[in-house]
């Protein structure tokens, strides 16, 4: 039977059916290149690297986020069901995720996975036996609280947070899947804040040379419904980029980028 629409699409990760999913994508990139030898311009092809298999999932962030609990795991498996079709994958690793929140929009979270095992179709659905994510809650505008170090009078317009993991698969001779997968620290974090300027001033240029400069700032976003659902915070946060922009007929905007790093 043909697929009737997105209402027939389900993504299950580690036996948990995900809620509020907006986009799902899978891709395979086969690393096969032509070989040219002396006397023969087209001497066949050869595999030069493992096939790169990735998956991306975008969700509304309106519940206690389940996917975040999977960071650091190297054996994530799952199933994408669309209509009567099934796509199973094994040995997935989250190599990064990002959170985006801005005025007038629902907060979103996006995950990227590398798949080092198989990506195959034709299996049986596991949806009926899968558990569910925590229930979706109503998240009001004042349920998003950004904590940073530039004063509350400057209105935050958007907050973006990301974590990137250094995933190292090691392949042994004659093996088509990694014999070892490591996540090597530190985990790189980044947060970007855009705000309307009221009393904000850029930091002194040469203050960054001062050892007394704050390099452990509190930068985080807290998302609440009836209670606190998720908190995304930088560790060892320091400012790496700031800009202010002013134009005729527009308000003055400042953009701040902080980075942090934490242990695996």
């Amino acid at each position: 039977m043909a697929l009737d629409g997105s209402h027939e699409e389900y993504i299950i990760i580690n036996n948990t059916l995900l809620n509020a999913v907006q986009n799902v994508s899978f891709s395979q990139n086969v690393n096969e290149s032509p070989i040219s030898t002396l006397g023969n311009e087209c001497a066949g092809t050869a595999i030069g690297a493992p096939t790169t298999v990735t998956a991306a999932i975008d969700k509304f962030l309106l519940n206690q986020e389940f996917m975040q609990t999977l960071t650091g795991l190297t054996d994530i498996s799952g199933q994408f069901e669309y209509g009567d079709n099934i796509l199973d994958f094994t040995t997935g690793v989250i190599n990064g995720y990002s959170v985006a929140a801005s005025v007038g929009e629902l907060p979103q979270i996006s995950f990227d996975l590398n798949i080092y095992g198989t990506l195959t179709g034709g299996g049986a659905s596991i949806r009926s036996s899968a558990s569910s994510e925590p229930a979706i809650q109503e998240v009001p505008q004042d349920g998003l609280i950004v904590t940073f170090d530039k004063g509350g009078t400057n209105s935050v317009q958007s907050f973006n947070f990301s974590e990137t993991f250094n995933v190292q698969p090691i392949y042994g001779l004659g093996q088509d899947t990694p014999s070892h997968i490591s996540i090597v620290g530190p985990i790189n974090q980044e947060a970007t804040i855009s705000m309307e300027v009221e009393d904000y001033e850029p930091e002194d240029t040469f203050s960054f040379l001062d050892s007394a400069k704050a390099r452990n700032r509190t930068i985080q976003i807290e998302i609440s419904g009836s209670s606190v659902l998720n908190t995304f915070a930088l560790e060892n946060a320091y400012l790496v980029d700031e800009s202010i922009t002013a134009g005729v007929g527009d308000t003055m905007v400042a953009n701040l980028t902080y980075r942090g790093y934490k242990k695996v």
């Binding site: 690393n31 096969e32 070989i35 040219s36 030898t37 002396l38 006397g39 023969n40 311009e41 001497a43 066949g44 092809t45 050869a46 595999i47 030069g48 690297a49 493992p50 250094n166 190292q168 090691i170 392949y171 042994g172 001779l173 004659g174 093996q175 088509d176 014999s179 070892h180 490591s182 090597v184």
Partner: protein
């Protein structure tokens, strides 16, 4: 004069003379799936100055046999050029080769393998680096001594994906058992580098340009294995981990060629850097002659 494209310059190796006609249709020759080739040729002449005479442009004398060598890196399959055919005492004639075909390319004889090496790594095709010394004078005529037009591209054998030896299909094992039982502290083999080298001595007789005898003086081969660990540190005298076999296979399951090293561990290294994993490397060397 003109430039010639690589597609018009196949390389063939042969073990017997047949009038310089090495090619795909020649039973005595094997094709080389070469990625690159370098032929070096330096006549050994030295200036000769005499007391009481002003030197002229012709005051050079032959001071020894020419220095000539042929180096190439190539893919390997199960039926064509195999470097292990040329490793031992291959007699006093050496091998024959043709770059671009006999009639329109450079041909030579007296080629002796002095070294070959390759790295076996997961998901990588095997490229073998071969170095030959050439002890016979090269042809200097227009036929066999230069690259001309009309090279025989129809000599090239048909090849495809399943032809070439590849790390994805190759096998590394101990003698009759898994390699992990021989190298019991290493379980993941990230890459294996094989190296063969030989010293050969050409002996010339008075009155001859070419050698009458070429002796294989010394030969050895070694494995350098990078993995997740090393064997425990070995005594100063090294240790013998047992025989280790490398089978270079292609996608069709054919063994293109193999090497077996039964030597002593001569080096052990551990390297670690920030943001990475610790890796071990051991080198095993076997003296062949």
């Amino acid at each position: 004069m003109a430039y010639f494209s690589y597609k018009d310059l196949p390389i063939y190796f042969g073990t017997a003379a047949d009038g310089g006609g090495l090619g795909a249709n020649d039973a005595n020759s094997k094709m080389v799936f070469a990625q690159q080739v370098q032929l070096n040729y330096t006549p050994n002449i030295a200036p000769t100055r005499l007391l009481g005479k002003t030197p002229t442009k012709d005051n050079f004398n032959l001071a020894g046999p020419p220095s000539a060598s042929l180096s190439f890196s190539c893919y390997v399959d199960a039926g064509e050029f195999d470097p292990t055919d040329y490793t031992g005492d291959v007699g006093n004639v050496g091998s024959y080769f043709a770059i671009g075909g006999g009639a329109n390319g450079i041909t030579g004889s007296g080629a002796y393998l002095t070294s070959f090496s390759y790295t076996l790594a997961p998901y990588q095709p095997v490229l073998v680096q071969c170095d030959f010394a050439i002890y016979q004078p090269l042809t200097t005529t227009n036929v066999g001594g230069k690259i001309g037009t009309g090279a025989n591209t129809d000599w090239v054998d048909s090849t495809d994906f399943s032809t070439y030896a590849h790390g994805a299909y190759s096998v590394f094992s101990g003698q009759g058992q898994a390699a992990t039982q021989t190298l019991n502290d290493i379980s993941v083999y990230e890459s294996i580098q094989y190296q063969f080298s030989a010293n050969r001595m050409p002996i010339y007789e008075i009155g001859d340009y070419g050698p009458s005898v070429v002796e294989l003086m010394t030969a050895e081969h070694s494995l350098s294995i990078q993995g997740d660990n090393i064997q425990k540190l070995v005594p100063l005298t090294g240790s013998n981990p047992g025989k280790l076999n490398l089978l270079l296979k292609n996608a069709a399951g054919d063994t293109c060629f193999s090497n077996a090293v039964d030597g002593r561990i001569t080096a052990e290294n551990v390297s670690i850097q920030g943001g990475d994993l610790a890796r071990g490397n051991i080198t095993i060397t076997e003296l062949l002659k």
